[in-house]
């Protein structure tokens, strides 16, 4: 006998309680989604809507009644009757410690302003581990003309690996290597990008939340102290190279394109591009050279 064929299971609404408020949410949603419904801001570092959750940073943890340990809001699905605390002493403690542990080992200065907001919300003081605390500081890797890798800024959120792998690019030029505090993002035997499988799609740059991966143009301008986001504007356009129709956001400063992104929620790209759309903009600004 053959088994019945399901044509899409109807989604149920579930009732859960978050910080004492009852809320109706759709089955299959994560706790993070449910918190969003109530307007509760949840810190996240390794989560991105276009990537498979890896739940490794643990900054999003919440307390669920009946669970011995805290659970990651970004990946745990809601269950009927779940009682969730997002601001208990335990939750605040772990969120604070995660931010402190990261802040004490990684240069987080280029993280988005909201990250710094969470730092102050949870009272994170990374310096309290003392001046001798080991860090991941290391020289910037500049081995090609398109983008640089500054792993002193890497929080090991796995996003670049996912974007380079099955979640977008399927190139697998980079992976996580080593173990424990020595774990790091690397090509095979740490070879330079030109020797690796990298095709310079820049999708890893697109998802990196810390500035560890950066356009060479941006890196050079920051070195020269000419990078100034206040002087930049964004021009939206469609990539001229092929017929796919990827939307481009050209970041322009002083009438030069300084980097290219694509919106995460764009139906064609989900934020991902190829090397032409991402880096093939030099011809636009070769004024008078021929």
């Amino acid at each position: 006998m053959s088994s019945p064929v399901f044509v899409g299971v109807p989604r149920r609404m579930l009732q859960v309680s978050i910080d004492g408020h009852d809320v109706q949410v759709m089955e299959g949603m994560t706790i993070l989604d449910a918190c969003g419904r109530l307007g509760i801001d949840t810190p996240t570092l390794c989560n991105l809507e276009t990537l498979t959750p890896v739940n490794v940073c643990r900054v999003c943890v919440v307390e669920v009644e009946g669970s011995r340990v805290l659970v990651p809001a970004c990946s745990r699905k809601v269950e009927p009757g779940m009682k969730i605390q997002t601001d208990s002493e335990r939750v605040r403690h772990s969120r604070r410690l995660v931010l402190e542990l990261l802040g004490s080992s990684v240069d987080m200065s280029l993280c988005a302003p909201e990250v710094h907001g969470w730092m102050s919300r949870y009272g994170a003081q990374p310096q309290r581990f003392g001046p001798g605390a080991a860090t991941v500081a290391q020289p910037v890797k500049v081995d090609n003309d398109l983008y640089v890798r500054d792993y002193s800024r890497c929080i090991l959120c796995y996003k670049c690996v996912e974007a380079c792998g099955v979640d977008a690019q399927n190139t697998f030029a980079i992976g996580v290597a080593g173990r424990g505090f020595e774990a790091h993002i690397s090509t095979e035997f740490t070879v330079g990008l030109p020797e690796s499988a990298c095709v310079y799609c820049g999708n890893c740059i697109g998802v990196c939340p810390t500035g560890a991966l950066m356009f060479k143009s941006e890196h050079d301008m920051r070195q020269a102290d000419t990078w100034d986001e206040n002087k930049q504007h964004v021009t939206e356009t469609v990539c001229p190279y092929c017929g796919v129709g990827c939307m481009l956001e050209l970041h322009v400063q002083d009438n030069s394109i300084v980097k290219v992104t694509s919106p995460l929620d764009h139906s064609v790209t989900s934020g991902h591009l190829c090397v032409k759309g991402r880096f093939g903009f030099q011809f636009v600004q070769r004024r008078g050279s021929g």
Binding site: N55, R58, V59, L97, L101, S104, R128, F129, A133, S196
Partner: protein
């Protein structure tokens, strides 16, 4: 996906090592010679991708025969398996066993973990340092390293030796107890330790004392030839399997449920419930995994079972497979246990030859077979989901739960994973009935338990006692402390466990009994420390252990274990006293976040022994 390899050609030895595992390549695509069809079609695809789980066996082949994993060797393996080099590098660099730079052909790993420390391992290491330079520095074709617990704590101090080279030359052995002269002679090219005889029955009996009156799990160990299936059968072997086939899956699971058997691997989950969940899982196929990774410091009971009674494990796995509908079983054994691995492999081969494994298990028409997989030096791979990833050829990073293994485990399929000792219990439960089993031990912790006694006791070894026996009685059974010594503490449950004091010695050794005093039975490790123990050194070793073994995936554990070690070093080695109270508070803060927010049990317990030493033993008080 294109495999881009730019590292130059592999050597003949590397090709031979990889091909020995995978067979010769069939086409240019896999790194072979050009055949006519290569120009016209792309080979590989799913058939090659499905071999991804052979990555670790291939890396072992390279390590065994070449002594390290070069870029050319790794990339050849990648072409053969269609694995991207960056990913394979990530895997190889995860495991302690795989060297990514050239290594001398002879290596000695000296255990400097808790039990070996109690037996003078630090002196041994000091002498080696003086003679051969610091650990890790190669000299005259040989190198020595420090190692976490080798599971030989009953014969501390222990060392493991390995000689790499083309097949036939590769060999592994151990020195236990290791003398300074012995290690020095070996590093200088001396006699290879002969292992075989050391495991003749009387020797095994001598190193594995028996315990109380209730000897069940150990009854064949040291009495029945572990290499002979006839001897096993003559001792009643395979009767439980026949009984299980008569009873049928549901009745077997009922007996197990009635027995109230709790898992012996550390998490103490009801075995019957787990079997039932797998048996009922609608998704097929189901997989079976026997967890023989045993890497918790101070634990060696599974080794004694595998070395001394391997057929029992094969029989129990077969019963589990029959009851839960598995056709494939894996036994994942830590690489530091070569003798156990060989004994198990031999038992699997003989069982297959005698029709207990294969397409028609004991004439039942059911199909089941076992593959032995070798760990590669990573404590975390004892965690069940990390173990699945390791078998699948990936980094041993634990997965987030849910989903649980019974829903989605090995290769994403419903998986039954049990510890070696848990499985061996199944034989008597099936033969004698669950109710009879449940009548022994305590109401909530039924049956007997294997305890691994080590450290400052007169007769270290594995002891089998009824659940509920007191810690005091157990230590007495092992001959108590040495003359003139007093007890400092007992580390119960290994590095992931906690310290118990003299005042708590009457704790009944049961899951509920230890829980009542805030301790845990864990893996059954009982490390006894007398007043001569270097407690501070032991705490530093435990902190180093967790920092080294953290998989590095989640922030609380990756950075927390690092900070925990730094702060302890500050307090205990540098003797910084300026902010002592602040540092003690900081340790407690890190401990709470690791316990609450880590992904897996490693991070969740990485501070437990240290915190218990701070609270119970007041080590950081001035």
């Amino acid at each position: 996906m294109d495999i881009r390899t730019t590292g130059g050609p592999p050597t003949a030895a590397e090709i031979a090592a990889v091909d020995a595992v995978l067979g010769p390549p069939e086409s240019l695509w896999e790194g072979g010679t050009r055949v006519a069809a290569d120009d016209h079609l792309a080979r590989g695809g799913r058939a090659v991708r499905s071999k991804r789980d052979l990555l670790l066996p291939v890396l072992h082949g390279l390590q065994d025969e070449v002594g390290w994993i070069s870029r050319g060797g790794l990339e050849y393996a990648c072409r053969r398996l269609n694995v991207p080099p960056a990913e394979a590098y990530g895997v190889a660099s995860f495991y302690d066993r795989f060297a990514l730079d050239e290594q001398p052909g002879l290596s000695v790993a000296v255990c400097d973990d808790v039990a070996c420390k109690c037996a003078g391992a630090d002196d041994l290491c000091r002498e080696l340092e003086a003679r051969f330079g610091p650990a890790g520095s190669a000299r005259e074709g040989a190198v020595w390293h420090r190692s976490p617990c080798l599971g030989l704590c009953d014969r501390a101090p222990a060392a493991r030796v390995e000689r790499t080279g083309p097949s036939g030359h590769h060999a592994e052995g151990r020195l236990a107890p290791a003398s300074t002269d012995g290690v020095i002679a070996l590093l200088g090219g001396g006699v290879w330790p002969v292992e075989g005889e050391a495991y003749s029955p009387p020797a095994l009996r001598a190193t594995s004392p028996r315990g109380g009156e209730e000897i069940k799990l150990l009854r064949r160990v040291g009495h029945v030839d572990p290499q002979s299936i006839d001897a096993y059968r003559a001792a009643g072997g395979f009767a439980a399997l026949r009984r299980a086939l008569e009873l049928g899956p549901e009745a077997v699971i009922r007996e197990l449920t009635d027995a109230k058997l709790l898992g012996r691997g550390g998490a103490a989950f009801l075995t019957g419930r787990k079997w039932d969940a797998v048996a009922r899982a609608p998704v097929r196929p189901h997989h079976l995994v026997c967890n023989a990774d045993e890497s918790e410091p101070g634990t060696f009971k599974d080794r004694v079972l595998m070395e001394g009674d391997p057929f029992a494990i094969i029989e129990a796995m077969t019963i589990a497979a029959v009851a839960t509908g598995c056709e494939r079983g894996y036994l994942y054994v830590r690489t530091e246990y070569p003798l156990a691995r060989h004994r198990i492999e031999n038992a699997v081969r003989l069982a297959r030859e005698h029709g207990y494994l294969g397409d028609d298990v004991a004439g039942s028409g059911l199909r089941f077979d076992i593959e032995v997989r070798r760990g590669a030096g990573a404590y975390i791979c004892g965690e069940e989901t990390a173990l699945f990833n390791s078998i699948e050829g990936k980094r041993g990073e634990p997965r987030n739960k849910p989903p649980f293994p019974v829903q989605a485990g090995l290769f994403g399929k419903p998986t039954l994973v049990n510890n070696v000792e848990t499985l061996v219990n199944v034989l008597d439960i099936v033969s004698e009935g669950g109710a009879a089993f449940a009548a022994t031990g305590t109401p909530d912790s039924t049956g007997t338990r294997l305890f691994c006694l080590s450290g400052h006791v007169q007769r270290a070894g594995v002891y089998e006692v009824l659940m509920g026996t007191t810690l005091r009685a157990l230590i007495d059974m092992a001959g108590g402390l040495r003359e003139g010594r007093s007890l400092r503490a007992v580390l119960l449950g290994g590095a992931a466990g906690s310290f118990v004091t003299e005042a708590q010695l009457d704790v009944p050794l049961s899951f509920e009994g230890t829980r009542a005093i805030g301790a845990t039975l864990g893996s059954g490790a009982v490390m006894v420390l007398d007043d001569s123990a270097d407690l501070e050194g032991i705490l530093l070793r435990i902190a180093r252990f967790f920092r080294h073994e953290s998989c590095g995936q989640c922030v609380p554990c990756r950075v927390g274990t690092k900070r925990q070690e730094e702060i302890l070093n500050r307090l205990l080695v540098d003797r910084q006293t300026s902010n002592r109270d602040g540092d003690v508070a900081l340790l407690a803060d890190i401990a709470q976040a690791m316990r609450d927010a880590s992904i897996c049990g490693l991070g969740q317990t990485a501070a437990s022994a240290i915190q218990s030493a701070v609270i119970q033993l007041k080590v950081l008080n001035v």
